[in-house]
């Protein structure tokens, strides 16, 4: 039986039982047997209590069966599973109804369970992080069994096409060109994003009238909302030819997959990130600092340069780090506009490739899942994870320090 059908049968069995449980339990609280006695909770609470009694053993059993199925230890036949689960539910229902009595604190039992469920939900985000770390590390380990970490970190040629099964893979997976490409494109993006973003933030926090701010801020946010695949298309179709033409005009040779165009477009994408975070920190610099400086006869710009920006520096640094982390992990723009060929160069007009491009390429090809090239993607993913994690955590710590100082 298919998983979907099993779910359907279970639902059809359990839902009516739960409803029956609710009504039987509430009805019992009105029965003559308890005439004159005072119930601890409202009738509805007993109904919910009965539902909990009905469903919890049944769901627990199905969950166990699912785990057994996934780990492959025991294959539980579908009909047996459905029968057992529904029998368990019926048993739970019976016990639930039996235990309904005035002294039972149904409400607190149900509410404690709710809080536990809320707690479980909040663990999902932790599990996600753990899941990412484990899945990437685990597969990366397999990769590093085949390729030595040293070769991976220090090698200067990346040519996974030569890594056919059975052949020696030494010297094929050298990731330096990928890091160089990532670094180059990130640096170009930062050269665009930091000045524009920072000056936009200064303008909005220090100079702009409320009406101007009201228009400018959401307009900048639109830049952040545009999907990256759209930026990628724009970089590849519009910006790249422009750069090639411009380079030709100056007598230079530029590839259509040059590193400059994804870098520039990525910089534009990151502007709102830097500007909104910097705007927040600049506005939270206390006015007393500004007024002190202005009272000493400093111009507005002098106040900003010598008082406000130094005070806001931790926040700005934190924004910068987050932006770098964003740029390093950005995928679609580079996949569409940057090259595929690993190329170790200092010339941004040549095609370069990045870590993320190679990850995507490894999965969209037709290699087997355990081929060295696919596994190499996990190795690269691990590097990406570590770098962005470190950047994010430093940025979080820095901004927290800043907030403690001024708020």
């Amino acid at each position: 039986m298919e998983t979907g059908t099993i779910f359907f049968y279970l639902f059809c069995g359990l839902a009516p039982l739960a409803i029956v449980a609710y009504f039987l339990a509430t009805k019992k609280t009105f029965s003559v047997k308890f005439e004159g006695e005072k119930f601890q909770s409202t009738p509805g609470s007993y109904g919910w209590y009965a539902i909990v009694c009905t469903l919890s053993p049944a769901l627990l059993a199905s969950f166990l069966a699912a785990i057994l199925h996934l780990t492959g230890t025991v294959e539980v036949p579908a009909t047996a599973l459905i029968a057992t689960v529904i029998a368990l539910a019926a048993g739970g229902l019976w016990i639930g109804i039996k235990t309904v009595k005035p002294s039972l604190k149904a409400r607190s039992i149900v509410e404690q369970l709710i809080v536990k469920m809320l707690f479980a939900a909040s663990m999902v985000s932790i599990l996600t992080t753990i899941g990412i770390v484990l899945s990437v590390t685990f597969e990366a380990m397999k990769f590093f069994e085949v390729v030595s970490i040293w070769d991976f970190i220090t090698g200067t040629t990346w040519n996974p096409d030569e890594a056919v099964a059975g052949k020696d893979v030494a010297g094929v997976f050298g990731s330096i060109p990928l890091f160089a490409g990532t670094f180059m494109i990130t640096a170009i993006a930062m050269v665009v994003a930091v000045p524009v973003g920072l000056f936009s933030a200064i303008c909005m926090a220090e100079y702009a009238s409320p009406t101007f701010r009201k228009i400018a801020k959401p307009s900048l946010e639109i830049l952040a909302g545009i999907p990256t695949v759209v930026y990628g298309f724009f970089a590849a179709i519009t910006v790249s030819p422009m750069i090639v033409n411009a380079a030709e005009y100056f007598g230079l040779q530029a590839d259509f997959t040059n590193a400059l165009s994804p870098g520039l477009v990525m910089g534009v994408m990151i502007i709102p990130l830097i500007s909104s975070l910097s705007d927040d920190v600049i506005t939270s610099v206390p006015n007393a600092l500004r007024e002190g400086s202005l009272a000493m006869g400093a111009y507005r710009s002098e106040t900003i340069k010598t008082v406000v920006l130094p005070a806001a520096l931790p926040g700005i640094v934190s924004a910068f780090l987050l932006a770098v982390s964003r740029a390093v992990g950005e995928t679609m723009i580079v996949v569409m506009a940057a090259g595929l060929r690993a190329n170790l160069t200092m010339n941004p007009l040549e095609g370069m490739t990045t870590v993320t491009v190679r990850i995507v390429d490894a999965f969209t090809g037709d290699q087997a899942f355990d081929s060295p090239e696919t596994l190499s993607a996990f190795g690269l993913g691990l590097v990406l994870l570590v770098v962005t994690l470190v950047l994010n955590v430093i940025s979080l710590v820095v901004i927290r320090k800043f907030r403690q100082q001024y708020e």
Binding site: A121, P195, C203, A216, F234, A236
Partner: protein, 386 residues
């Protein structure tokens, strides 16, 4: 004590001050100019995709056409008509035998190259074909009609037949799964953290973790989806379910952060009032906190979903990039999504796909803008200011 004011220095300072102010405005205007240029560029390339060339031809359902649809048309014209039309002719004749032997004059889809030629764009038509098309146009037998197929068809190898319907349906399925999983989990997490969580190291870890999760590159979520959902849990590859689950993990932090902000904005006096009337903590949450923070929660959810609908990289890893011409008929069948469709078209070398890519982008941006507009509208209308 006396001051001597150096006029030169003062002037220089004033100039520098003006310059600085100018720089800051320039920065904003540069970003704005980019935005205008960007939209003008996309709309400019997309505009022509909403029109599609059609030719009025006599379709002669003769005996030969039963085998090869091309024989139903005049030989010269058959190269100008879309193969998507001619290849269906034999099937149509088998279905409707009354057609055989008749000749019907009708508007049919033109080949993509004819389409590009009529739109005066670069094309690969030969000289003779060009004069033929010019002649048809002069006789009123060639026209640019509204491109309804773009919204009704799935992907196709023929540009003139390719549409966004399959991808749009796929996006809808993925979004539904994302909503089903991320909304309850996100709201539950936020409620727990704001209303019930004790102040201990575990909770601080969760807080740091959520902020961190929001900044992890999306492609790593794709790796997670591949190894956990597909390889471990056995969710079918390139299905809407796999994509939706992956995206819901990405959307989770957005929903949590906005829900927490909405819950935090509710003054404690509301909670204390309810508690004083004998409500339990959970009753306070369900009867007061949740209803009051609902506008904020929904706003955050819509914004999170608007981000999810434009996400591509993790879905590429999961295999939603394949050529999938049919709209998915369930959560576990192979599906593609709008941004993935944009990506596949953009990497196609045929010129006619470029305008379709732009048009698909316009549709995607329109949907996202609409979602964000609804979110802002809801925030302004229903949000309670305390």
């Amino acid at each position: 004590m006396s001051f001597t004011i150096d006029k030169k220095v003062m002037k220089r300072r004033a100039r520098r001050d003006m310059r600085f102010k100018m720089y800051s405005y320039t920065a904003i205007f540069m970003a704005g100019a980019f935005l205008v240029f960007f939209f003008a560029d996309i709309i400019g390339t997309a505009a022509s995709a909403f029109k599609q060339a059609e030719l009025r031809v006599a379709v002669n359902y003769n005996e030969d056409a039963k085998e090869m649809g091309e024989y139903a048309l005049d030989e010269d014209l058959s190269y100008l008509v879309s193969r998507g039309f001619t290849r269906l002719i034999p099937g149509k004749m088998r279905e409707n035998r009354a057609l055989i032997g008749t000749t019907i004059e009708k508007w049919v889809l033109a080949d993509a190259e004819v389409d590009q030629y009529l739109k005066s764009k670069p094309n690969r038509l030969k000289k003779g074909e060009r004069t033929l098309v010019d002649g048809l146009k002069a006789e009123g037998n060639a026209r640019l009609a509204f491109n309804i197929g773009f919204f009704e068809n799935g992907d196709s190898k023929l540009p003139e037949m390719a549409g966004i319907w399959a991808a749009a349906v796929g996006s809808m399925y993925v979004l539904m799964i994302t909503l089903i999983f991320s909304f309850p989990l996100g709201v539950a997490t936020a409620i727990y953290l704001e209303e019930f969580a004790p102040d201990n190291w575990l909770m601080q870890a969760i807080e740091v973790n959520i902020n961190n999760l929001a900044a992890i590159p999306s492609i790593l979520f794709g790796l997670l989806g591949l190894s956990i959902f597909i390889n471990f849990l056995g969710v079918p590859r390139s299905s809407a379910l796999a994509g939706g689950l992956t995206l819901s993990l990405m959307t989770l932090p957005v929903i949590i952060i906005s829900t927490r902000a909405a819950i935090l904005a509710i003054p404690d006096s509301i909670r204390e009032g309810a508690l004083a009337l004998g409500a339990t903590r959970w009753q306070v949450v369900i009867t007061n906190v949740l209803p009051l923070s609902l506008p904020g929660i929904l706003t955050g959810t819509i914004i999170g979903l608007a981000r999810a609908i434009g996400e591509t990289a993790p879905l590429m890893i999961i295999g939603m990039m394949a050529y999938i011409p049919e709209a998915p008929d369930g959560f576990t069948s192979a599906a593609t999504v709008l941004p993935a469709q944009i990506y596949t078209w953009s990497s196609d070398s045929l010129r006619a796909f470029t305008e379709r890519t732009s048009a698909a982008i316009l549709v995607l941006l329109g949907v996202m803008l609409l979602m964000n507009g609804v979110a802002i509208f809801m925030r302004n209308k229903y949000e309670v200011k305390w």
